[in-house]
């Protein structure tokens, strides 16, 4: 099967930026040529037969497939919140060709069987690719190491105890040293539990006014600083998850300046919203780490702009109404993000915080580099491609989400820009161009 994507603006940071035609044979990219120019003499395939399928991408941005490296798919164990099938379909519709699945499933992904199960279910679903992230510690309990060698062999791409911090510094040190031997990045959920437990939102004026206990920035930044120190000690690749506080951004910037192998991600809600969004006790604005002050929000934007923060990941955390339609302090943490992440991030381009190339780096090239996978629009590469319409204006309607989760603070928001086609290995897993 021969596919031609023509007249799109191909943005492959560090490689290409121009109006190009892309020729794809089955799952591989065969040729990338400037649009409108005669095909090179080497283009045997195109001369021999006409493409089976032509996608007109004029006015669109053609990007290497986006990767959301922080997603909770909830399967196995909490299929009423999300399944691998619905989660990966939501990913595809949001423009993501691949997601990293966090290990806090039930049972926890701390062994080969669960990793293999997740991979099997994701192949069956056939939507976005799933890269399982295994647990740092057995049962996420912070007491003993998982078998990283076996997990790596089964297909785990990184390790994390996400949702819980690794409070024991010695265990974290050893996890980093041990993981280094298998080339597994260590993704750290940075939180000092003693400063955050029993608290429901960001510490500050809004929490004080609402009578809610506050989580101070230091609950995050202290742990970021500890992990940076352990990164210096061990030389292991440390990736800081969901950065929300300005002190964390500063610490990461300083660590990078020193040349430490530290990378970091933030989520769209941290650069879009502040703790004011919690007003009215909206449980759809409750997450951990919490929405911070506007000062922090601006620091996150700076961190994105100057490259301190490498990645935008959604921290997609689906919950049902059972967990969310309750008293604020009893409500579960987390919001869905797969189907709003790209639009909220495109706003950064609209606002001049990032150019489109930098945005694609943070949503595709950098996650790929951190995870050690290939992501490129070049002849010979796997055809994982996202086509973005930067001008499409629409209203978010959570009732139409492919995710089972409806827990978003962005319902009813007017957005500009979204994915219109998602291709995984040459297969269109989401397509709004042909359909229209």
């Amino acid at each position: 099967m021969l596919t031609l994507i023509k007249k799109g603006r191909v943005v492959d940071p560090g490689n290409l930026d121009g109006i190009m035609d892309i020729l794809i044979d089955d799952d591989r990219i065969i040729e990338v040529v400037p649009s409108g120019k005669p095909v090179k003499s080497g283009s045997v395939l195109l001369k021999r037969r006409a493409p089976d399928r032509i996608i007109d991408a004029s006015g669109k941005i053609v990007a290497p497939g986006l990767i959301d490296m922080h997603v909770h798919l909830r399967e196995p164990g909490q299929e009423y919140k999300e399944t691998i099938e619905t989660g990966t379909l939501a990913a595809a519709c949001g423009g993501f060709t691949a997601v990293c699945a966090m290990p806090n499933t039930m049972p926890v992904n701390d062994n080969r069987q669960i990793t293999e199960y997740i991979l099997k279910r994701s192949r069956e679903a056939g939507n976005a690719i799933v890269y399982p992230v295994a647990a740092i510690s057995k049962g996420l309990e912070g007491k003993s190491l998982c078998e990283y060698g076996d997990l790596r062999e089964a297909g785990a791409i990184a390790i994390t105890d996400d949702g819980r911090p690794v409070s024991n510094s010695r265990l974290m040190r050893r996890a980093m040293e041990y993981a280094k031997g298998f080339g597994l990045p260590v993704i750290s959920h940075c939180e000092v539990s003693e400063l955050s437990s029993g608290c429901a939102m960001n510490e500050g004026i809004v929490a004080t006014r609402m009578g809610l206990s506050g989580i101070p920035n230091a609950a995050e930044s202290i742990m970021v600083m500890r992990d940076i120190a352990l990164c210096g000690l061990t030389g292991a690749h440390l990736h800081i998850a969901h950065v929300s506080a300005h002190e964390s951004v500063n610490a990461i910037r300083e660590a990078k300046r020193k040349g430490l192998p530290v990378t970091a991600e933030t989520a769209p809600h941290y650069f879009t919203l502040t703790d004011e969004a919690v007003s009215g006790y909206d449980t759809n604005a409750k997450m951990n780490p919490p929405l911070r002050s506007d000062f922090d929000r601006k620091a996150i934007l700076e961190g994105l702009a100057d490259g301190t923060i490498d990645v935008i990941a959604s921290d997609h955390a689906p919950h049902s109404s059972i967990e969310k339609d309750v008293e604020f302090d009893s409500a579960a943490n987390g919001i869905v993000g797969l189907e709003t992440s790209l639009s909220l991030s495109l706003k950064l381009v609209e606002d001049g915080v990032l150019d489109i190339s930098a945005l694609i780096e943070k949503m595709s090239k950098n996650p790929a580099r951190i995870l050690g996978i290939e992501r490129s629009i070049t002849a010979g590469s796997i055809a994982d491609i996202t086509i973005i319409d930067p001008d499409a204006v629409y209203i978010v309607d959570s009732a139409c989400f492919r995710s089972l989760g409806r827990n978003t603070p962005f319902n009813g928001w007017k957005m500009k820009g979204k994915a219109v086609l998602t291709m995984v290995g040459g297969k269109m897993v989401f397509d709004n161009i042909f359909r229209l």
């Binding site: 009578g211 809610l212 008293e327």
Partner: protein, 312 residues
Amino acid sequence: MQFERKDILDIESLSAEEITFILDTADRMKEISKRPVKKVPTLRGKTVVLFFYEPSTRTRSSFEIAAKRLSADSISISSSSSSMVKGETLADTARNLEAMNPDVIILRHYSAGAPHMLAKLLKTSIINAGDGMHEHPSQALLDLMTVREKKGYIRNLRVAIIGDISHSRVARSDILGFTKMGAEVVLGGPFTMIPAGIESLGATVAGSSDDAVRGADVIMMLRIQKERQQSFLYPSDREYSKVFGLNPERLKKAKKDVLIMHPGPINRGVEISSEVADGPYSIILDQVTNGVSVRMALLFLVAGGVRNVDAD
């Protein structure tokens, strides 16, 4: 003015005009409690549900007496006797209660915002009888009523609130209520108990309890909860009493006609000495008396006002 509110959720959403209207109504209600037959038919045929997820003696009996003096039928549900122990959610329990057509639900809940959630969910009027660390509007209203009764006015009074401001819904409602009515509010207490950004509510934070008391027209002492020692909020009752407690010595720094208040229950010898609690400046029991009047006013305004009279 016409009082058009369905719910009484917090002082934050009430205007100074509405607060004055509630206080005026409460003043008129007070006379009923002094009669030999302490009952009027105003709310006859109305049903009031007291829904208490937290233990309470004062607030609960005060609301219950208020309902009975207005002839409303009241029933009382506590968390230990409700379906909550069977795992029913607050929303479901409330929907079930509403299906029995009550007119008012008075909710005391350990979660901030719980009454706001019910108010959105139900057509029944909701009165917040204390939600987590958020607000306790009827307490602030009875405090305002008592101060206005004793002083004749509230504007420009210096009101010191001393104690665990962080965990106190009374403090939040009082800060908002007294500042809305034109008083100056000064906060005192250990800095472990002063929440971030509390100044945004309109109060100032004193450097010491002596500074807070100095020149005060009203001193409101808050109950210190002994279990707070475990969260490192203060070292010992002994030290608390010495540094932050109100005793005759510290009281000398206040104005000569100072009023001493406390939302109760008091810890004698910790935040307040017995000499002060039982002394001539104490109006702690007047607060309790006025509590009934304020709650009668609130019930009357949400259940007996124009809003509830059928057009035909």
